[in-house]
């Protein structure tokens, strides 16, 4: 049985057909043009689905269903997008609207949740039951899979683990309105902010001589022996580790995956995280420690996870 996965982003809509092994066998991408009326965006999604079905040489009836990973809060039971800021949608009955084009089940869930499910179906967490995926990007995204299924919480309001407060009424403002959220300390954006601050404080540093600081340039400067960059990274890894320990203590998943561009640094950031967790989490028995590893699905996560919604 095949499945169709739609990764709906604010810029592009990526659509693919996956086979039973969750391999993408056909693929297309089209611009979202998110400011259009929702009906038009959904018509474009439907066209793209037809394109990938044709490319794969199958009919939609050969598919268990169509899944959509949407950027926002979703009511997965009813296939409704409660609120998506990037799409400017409120209470949109996305599944029902797309069902008008195709006589198969249409499922909708949050994109970060889909990414976590993709890792369980085909990625670093294949075959695991209880995992958390943490994605370090502009903010910290998170998805929880429990018992092999996405856990979305009350009214889709689940798994915003980046908004656990790490620093009680701390000084760093978070975009959610509080101060001291993990997001404000351990997202990729936060790393860049910390590096920029350090560069200003240390005009002698290599960091301060860069035209522009991004996540990768902090690692590069540290590699070239810049002590300022090394101190920034050490502190950043500690922030990351404390937040991951909080997840371990709160939920004790089997596995915590770290995604996003920074996760390509692999053990360089994950080794200090693992060490901190082993020494500091509540239950220190080695067998009670989760595996902490990089996410594997990369850009495919959205399509594969959305497709996996259709069971």
């Amino acid at each position: 049985m095949y499945r169709v996965g739609i990764d709906l982003g604010g810029t592009n809509i990526a659509v693919g057909v996956v086979n039973e092994d969750y391999e993408i066998i056909s693929y297309t991408t089209v611009p979202t043009e998110a400011r259009r009326p929702a009906e038009q965006v959904i018509a474009t999604m439907a066209q793209a689905v037809n394109t990938v079905l044709e490319q794969a040489g199958i009919r939609v009836e050969d598919c268990a269903g169509i899944g959509v990973g949407a950027p926002g809060t979703c009511d997965e039971k009813n296939g409704v997008v409660y609120r998506s800021y990037s799409m400017d949608w409120t209470d949109l009955p996305l599944a029902n609207m797309l069902k008008e084009y195709f006589p198969v089940p249409v499922l909708v869930d949050n994109d970060a949740n889909c990414a976590a499910l993709a890792e369980v179906k085909a990625g670093a967490a294949k075959g695991r039951e209880n995992i958390v995926l943490v994605t370090l990007g502009t903010g910290i995204g998170s998805g929880i899979v429990l018992g092999g299924r996405i856990y979305s919480g009350l009214k889709g309001n689940g798994a915003e683990m980046g908004h656990m407060m790490l620093q009680f009424e701390g000084s760093r403002p978070c975009f959610c309105g509080r101060r001291g959220c993990w997001d404000a300390y351990a997202s990729a954006t936060a790393l860049v902010h910390q590096a920029e601050e350090a560069a200003r404080e240390h005009p002698e540093s290599l960091l301060s001589r860069l035209d522009k600081i991004d996540g990768k340039s902090v690692f590069d400067a540290a590699d070239r022996g810049d002590v300022t960059a090394q101190v920034v990274l050490e502190r950043y890894c500690r922030y990351l580790a404390v937040g991951i320990s909080n997840i371990v203590n709160a939920l004790a998943p089997e596995m915590i995956l770290v995604g996003g561009g920074i996760s390509r640094q692999g053990d360089r950031i994950l080794t200090p995280v693992r060490e901190y967790v082993a020494q500091n989490c509540f239950d220190k028995r080695p067998e009670a420690l989760p595996v902490i590893a990089p996410a594997q699905m990369g850009n495919e996560a959205g399509i594969v996870g959305a497709a996996a919604l259709a069971e």
Copy 2:
């Protein structure tokens, strides 16, 4: 169908038979004498089970099973207590040992998890699917019920929500070895510590004239107009609220119950908590906010929750 619940504590073993409505229809309690060999403790448990069966006028075969809530980390699949500090047990096959006395299923889980399950079966969360129970006592205990069942995490290492770090490398040491855990700011013990500190700083306060400060006396002093006590309580409620917001953001349960002696203050502590959560949690839609309420099961939670393990 009846069920037997055993609430195993470091001091006493409380045992009861519950009916289909989870009402306790017979009850006994015996000293644990925890330093004895485990075999003797279990023999005492078996005797107490026979006592409550006799009192109820039923045979063990009339029961769906026997559940034990144990103070420690449990492998609920195999009925093993991995580690209990209060019992000094390691890897004890409690279910199998108790099964030698009774020809019915014997189930074992952590006592805080059982208390959460009791609230779902017969208490404040009756009929709910996804709830978190937070108990404010010597420390902060927590139990998670998801999909109507206890969520125990990897190797029973789940739901130590008191050990989410609230204050990054904060000044308050936690008994788990870290600094800055929620437990060190919002347990009943933490409230007393904060009141003692405030009493030393404010010798003019009513608090400082008390012979001994306990949780209740802080509330009493505030009632009598003591500004020092009022400030302590306001700060304490904020600590409580931030930790509960972290649970909302991480898991979005339908309901968060607060238990322990302090929860008898009811709305006095829960109203500021609800206000903070409504204003500060990530998803502020009213329908996405959990119900925050006092736990109801009190001393019966242990027996009823343990009994509910037997399905």
